[in-house]
């Protein structure tokens, strides 16, 4: 059994997913991170966002998703990789993954 799979040597249910918040999420939700617990692993990204919205309110989902897709400019990094180069909202997330959410932002 792969240790990344449910029941693997390092992980057993309930699984914990830690989402790091920066910029406006940090200010709006007044927290640096959110821990989501689930009996399942992995979770799809959209499931994680749904669960996060159940805890923090629908604004989390509204700032990230529009018409069933990631909003233009929203950045979600899984282990440093933008999910737009993975499977977008279908990307599978594992409990030990480094998960970072940014609402759209830009400057220079």
């Amino acid at each position: 059994m792969n240790k990344r799979e449910p029941g693997g040597e390092n992980f057993s249910p309930p699984y914990q997913y830690k989402i790091k918040f920066f910029t406006l999420f940090k200010l709006y939700f007044k927290r640096d991170f959110l821990v989501i617990e689930s009996e399942r692993a992995p979770l799809k990204l959209f499931e994680l966002i749904e669960k996060g919205s159940e805890i923090l309110g629908k604004s989390l989902k509204e700032k990230l998703i529009s018409k069933g897709k990631l909003k233009r400019g929203a950045i979600i990094l899984i282990k440093g990789k933008n999910v737009l180069h993975l499977k977008e909202l279908e990307t599978e997330i594992y409990p030990e993954d480094d998960i970072v959410f940014f609402p759209p932002g830009g400057g220079g």
Binding site: F22, T23, L24, K26, L27, D32, K63, K71, R72, G73, A74, I75, L77, K79, G80, K81, N82, L84, H85, V100, F102, P103, P104, G105, G106, G107, G108
Partner: protein, 606 residues
């Protein structure tokens, strides 16, 4: 009877010669507006036409052009921008620096599209412009004053509370190679050393008050309403930038692994949370926000230190240059250094990054302690050093005199030019290009040296705007860079702020420009204007002896893989990017511009 169409530019330039004291106005042919639009474009045309590429940047032969665009001073969203064009003392290239605030709009309201300053005054002077009245006045009493003091004194002397001032601080007077022009106390035509050119002419300041605004053309006002709405609804220009300013970027760039740390030795900074935009708010430094002329975004940050010092900034680039690049996590010290730059008239990016290069030179033993002449040790992480040497640079005191030459000349003087993280001798800004290949190509080919605002590839490569590109992918990047460079030239020529492009596209700019000028450009026509500006700037550089061999990056970025973060192992593949870029640009394989390209673009100088 011919009906004269209303347009938002005056077709008029003001020419001031400081050597003989002459002042005159000239008509600008409308055809030139069609070819170059205004601002950066029109100023580049006049500069290339009138100035020999081989002049000494700090001689009387250099000229200094302040140029507005057809949208400057109009209600067009972000229509407060102006350009300063000259030959830059930091790079030797064409220098082209952009600023916001209110000064540009006021110059336009005085009835001028452009101001050309020539020659050199024997004694310090300032220029007082009130519509048709233009006077060259003594400025001995202002010499040595900082930019805030100068602004306050001049407005008082001028007797018009709403007059706007652009001036230099002590850094410009002392010809610091990366000194800037500060307008409205807090806004900077920051890069490429335009302040030193102003200082070399003994021109301390320009104060201007105008009484005529461009006409509010009905179609134009309708287009403006639509574009303001787009900007307000956009998540970046309507929320991210207003709420957090440009420092919304610190964590984004750090988490993506291209946040240059310790003079680009690393790509992540473990203390970003101490210095990012969120910290600026949480630590109580942010007291207000501010906006430039006609700007619905309002990204300016008004900050206050516990000592009572108040000012604007730091912007993202500034916070990074004094922060991560110097390995400093003391936000108080970073803000102090930022305020000093504004008061002394220094480019914050080159100041911070030159200090960072000096820190690496010092820690590697190339700079001795004795050379610091009593100044604090140049250790990475020293908040004392960033504040001390910023002041020393601006006043050219002690070791600051050597730092005032910029990182390339500094590092070269110790036999280690590779420690200068610069392109064409101008320091690179806050994105490690190993983490964004297209941005690396943009740095290497920027006509004014290391710069992020000549084609901001971070937008597609990191921010996903207008669409997300893979940071490490090579294919197609050259085409993207060309489009971004040409589009940026148009935005700079029109008199708008580059930040508007997070929400607006080329078609939006075409609608704004056409309704203001009546030019009936197609989007393709407009992009050709940008391409024309780009090629003309490169033409000047080539004639100045700065050719394709300078389209490169510091060796560290080409050969040393990023040692940390999510982009660990990456280098910039310029060997692959550059040939494709030359091809996309329609240039020769060696990067020179063929005669046919000049002809195609209607560039008449070749």
């Amino acid at each position: 009877m011919e009906v004269k169409m209303e347009v938002t530019f005056w077709k008029k330039l003001l020419r001031v010669n400081l050597s003989d004291g002459s002042v005159k106005t000239e008509e600008i042919p409308e055809e030139l507006f069609k070819l170059y639009l205004g601002g950066r474009g029109l100023a580049t045309y006049y500069f290339v036409k009138e100035v020999s590429p081989n002049i000494d940047e700090l001689s009387a032969e250099n000229k200094l052009i302040f140029a507005t665009g057809p949208l400057t001073g109009t209600p067009a969203p972000t229509g407060g921008r102006y350009m300063v064009v000259t030959k830059g003392p930091l790079t030797g290239t064409i220098a082209s620096s952009n600023s916001g605030g209110d000064f540009g709009a006021e110059l336009k309201h005085a009835g001028y599209d452009m101001l050309i300053v020539e020659g050199k005054s024997e004694k310090p002077v300032y220029l007082a412009i009130k519509d048709n009245s233009v006077e060259i006045k003594p400025a001995e009493h202002l010499w040595g004053k900082n930019t805030h003091e100068t602004t306050v004194i001049l407005v008082d002397e001028f007797g018009e509370r709403r007059a706007k001032v652009a001036c230099i601080g002590p850094a410009g007077e002392k010809l610091v190679r990366f000194s800037c022009v500060i307008n409205d106390k807090h806004r900077a035509a920051g890069r490429t050393g335009v302040g030193a050119v102003m200082g070399s002419k003994n021109l301390k300041a320009i104060i201007v008050k105008g009484s005529k605004k461009p006409p509010k053309i009905s179609d134009f006002m309708g287009v403006i309403k639509d574009k303001v709405e787009i900007l307000r609804k956009d998540a970046i220009t309507g929320e991210g930038l207003p709420k957090l300013g440009t420092k919304v970027l610190d964590s984004i760039i750090n988490q993506n692994g291209l946040y240059p740390t310790k003079n680009f030795q690393f790509g992540t900074f473990d203390k970003t949370n101490e210095v990012n935009g969120e910290a600026l708010i949480e630590k109580g430094y942010l007291v207000n926000t501010s906006a430039c002329y006609a700007c619905p975004i309002g990204c300016g940050r008004v900050t206050k230190l516990p000592s009572g010092l108040e000012g604007e900034g730091p912007e993202y680039e500034t916070g990074w240059a004094f922060g991560a690049d110097c390995n400093v996590s003391d936000l108080n010290a970073i803000i102090q250094a930022n305020f000093l730059c504004n008061e002394l008239g220094l480019d914050t990016i080159s100041t911070g990054t030159t200090i960072a290069a000096a820190m690496e030179l010092y820690e590697k033993g190339y700079i001795s302690k004795e050379e610091l002449k009593g100044g604090p040790e140049l250790r990475f992480g020293s908040s004392e050093a960033i504040v001390y040497y910023t002041r020393a640079i601006g006043l050219r005191e002690g070791f600051g005199d050597k730092l005032a030459e910029g990182s390339f000349r500094l590092a070269s003087s110790y036999g280690h030019p590779g420690i200068s993280m610069s392109v064409k001798k101008q320091e690179l800004p806050a994105y490690d290009p190993r983490g964004a290949q297209g941005h690396g190509l943009e740095y290497a080919t920027s006509n004014r040296g290391g710069c992020h605002v000549r084609g901001y590839m971070i937008s597609p490569e990191i921010l996903g705007v207008p669409e997300k590109l893979d940071t490490q992918k090579i294919e197609g990047k050259a085409q993207w860079v060309k489009i971004f460079q040409d589009l940026t030239a148009i935005i700079d020529a029109s008199g708008l702020c580059l930040f508007s492009s997070f929400a607006l596209g080329a078609d939006d700019y075409r609608e704004l420009v056409n309704s203001a000028t009546g030019f009936n450009y197609t989007t393709e026509d407009l992009m050709t204007v940008g391409e024309r500006i780009w090629n003309l700037e490169r033409y000047f550089n080539y004639k100045a002896g700065i050719g394709p061999e300078t389209d490169t990056l510091p060796e560290r970025l080409l050969k040393e893989p990023l040692p940390d973060g999510p982009q660990k192992g990456a280098v910039v593949h310029l060997d692959k990017l550059l040939p494709e870029y030359y091809k996309v640009r329609g240039w020769n394989e060696d990067g020179t511009i063929p005669k046919e390209k000049y002809k195609e673009l209607g560039i008449e100088f070749e």
